[in-house]
Symmetry: C2
Subunit: 335 residues, 2 copies
């Protein structure tokens, strides 16, 4: 059944807060099959793992490949991960804690599985195949429901001893406080994530300051998607534009901090919000960061939009799995 | 004249905002001679370079070593450095900008010279010989006139492509504003450096809330040294204790940010302020950071006081010079 028997075959998996995506790649990281599905993290870990496994199986079917043909699987997940043991430590957006994802998936597919942070996977994808190709130090910031971050330093994912890091969304750019709608008050997430923006936008709509958004999405946060914010701005909702610009300014402060700490050459902005309004985010956040850094850093970095869209995460996860596993060919009994 | 002819001999130099220190080391980094002097950066670059050269010569005299015996010199300087070209890019505390320090010193001593950021040197010293020995990722934060930072990642100084980084003092932990007394408003330096603390302490003294400090130092910032803050607290100046605790809390926010971004196992606090009040800084900042990080990070890091005092910078600069130069023995004509 396999179309290219005997060659390497990698699966990249992106486990997001709202959707999951599996893509099967050949040895040159050309896509052979893919499958997308809602995540529904609140249904619990057991249901979630079954859903992940089924999604991979269906992507394999589309690729016309037997599961025994998989060389390795790379999975990107939100939040801090123990990358050596493949454990999801804490993902508020899924409600998962200390989930041994690597072993659970390995049981099903009997191949090497690498678990990484989702934005580490995304920026590794952009580093290998997209906007950050060949950069010595590249940082990814992907605003979504929360705000994830990742860093590639001299060709490798930058990480802690037993935990992933570059959790930019959880850094403080204002005095810390108790819980806000998204994470702790004072953190970047609490002011610049899609959820924070949607909350401010819903208030504007409720007050009658954003007629187009009101018409399209109403005041229910769950309905206010990135594309609707973009179309409300395009249609003249000035209040929404002010809210998004303010969020991008806050992102610029976090970028200035990242430049002062990591001095990356490239900062890639990705995720749904940025995809919907790439110029607004890249320009406003980039200009704010440039205004806020010490003079020796002003010309050391570029802020760029991601190039690969949804493919960054699956490509990066698959390519990183290959780095870790070392591209060993699997010897299977069915060939 | 030399005491151990033919062996390696390294000079470590620490160029601080207020004082400079040169130490001559043997191949095992045992000190052979040292010399300390005021920096007087405001007298300009030419005078400054002459002063550096004279200080090194005098340390060599104390070590009874001929200048031709030096294998290499490592110099730590505040602010961002171009480490490959040995250029001091911008040090507001010295008033120096784009100074080709490496070449200027090399002209005099005709040996390899490595220029690094001062806290990169300090944390490399602590990593090789002190509080952070053998750590995979160690961050140094040294509050002084400003607040410097540095990071050792997997045995090497973490750096940008053409600039040093981990400039923690210049990261924003509050909304950015115009210039404050130290750097930009909103940065860690503007609220937790010795200068910021001294300014608040002088106000307290002026208002009659810090009788002991008033008696010892008056209201002139230049007189309020770290040791006086410590003795005022010991003598019962509660207002001064509140001011220092508040600064340490702010340092804790910056540490939480560093943990979220770099996930170091060790954070070493050093410099004059911390040396004068080590427990207060380490405990208050460490507890604040632990309270502010995401749960998976709570037990991943230690906050420790520096162990080597003033020796950290010179030891680290000399040991780093050896890393970079590779410990090549110099062939000299006088032996």
């Amino acid at each position: 059944m396999a179309t290219d028997t005997g060659k390497e075959c990698w699966v990249g998996f992106d486990l997001g807060g709202t959707k999951m995506l599996a893509t099967v790649f050949d040895a040159d990281f050309r896509p052979l099959g893919r499958r997308r599905r809602k995540t529904r993290g609140h249904e619990g870990v057991d249901v979630g793992i079954k859903r992940i496994v089924r999604t991979i199986h269906e992507a394999l079917q589309e690729a016309k490949l037997d599961p025994a043909r998989i060389t390795g699987i790379g999975i990107g997940c939100p939040g801090p991960i123990d990358p050596d043991r493949g454990i999801v430590l804490d993902t508020p957006n899924l409600g998962w804690r200390n989930v041994p994802l690597r072993d659970l998936v390995r049981q099903e597919f009997d191949c090497d599985v690498a678990v990484v942070n989702d934005v580490d996977a995304g920026i590794f994808g952009e580093y290998r195949f997209g906007a950050a190709r060949g950069t010595r130090c590249a940082v990814g910031i992907f605003p979504g429901t929360g705000i994830g971050g990742g860093c590639i330093y001299e060709g490798r994912i930058f990480r802690g001893a037993a935990v992933t890091c570059v959790e930019i969304g959880h850094t403080y750019i204002a005095p810390p406080g108790g819980l806000s709608g998204v994470g702790r008050k004072g953190t970047l997430e609490s002011v610049a994530s899609r959820l924070a923006i949607a909350a401010a936008a819903a208030q504007a709509a409720f007050r009658g300051e954003a007629p187009r958004l009101m018409q399209e999405a109403g005041t229910d946060l769950a309905n206010i998607r990135s594309s609707m914010l973009a179309s409300a701005i395009a249609a003249g909702d000035r209040a929404i534009e002010r809210i998004v610009r303010e969020a991008a300014e806050q992102l610029g402060i976090a970028i200035a901090n990242v430049v002062h700490i990591l001095a990356p050459e490239t900062i890639v902005l990705g995720g749904g919000l940025v995809e919907a309004m790439p110029r607004l985010f890249v320009d406003v956040a980039g200009q704010a960061a440039r205004r806020l850094v010490l003079s020796p850093y002003v010309d050391t970095f570029k802020v760029l939009p991601a190039e690969l869209g949804d493919d960054a995460g699956v490509l990066g996860a698959a390519a990183w799995a290959r780095e870790v596993v070392g591209g060993k060919l699997r010897v299977t009994s069915d060939e």
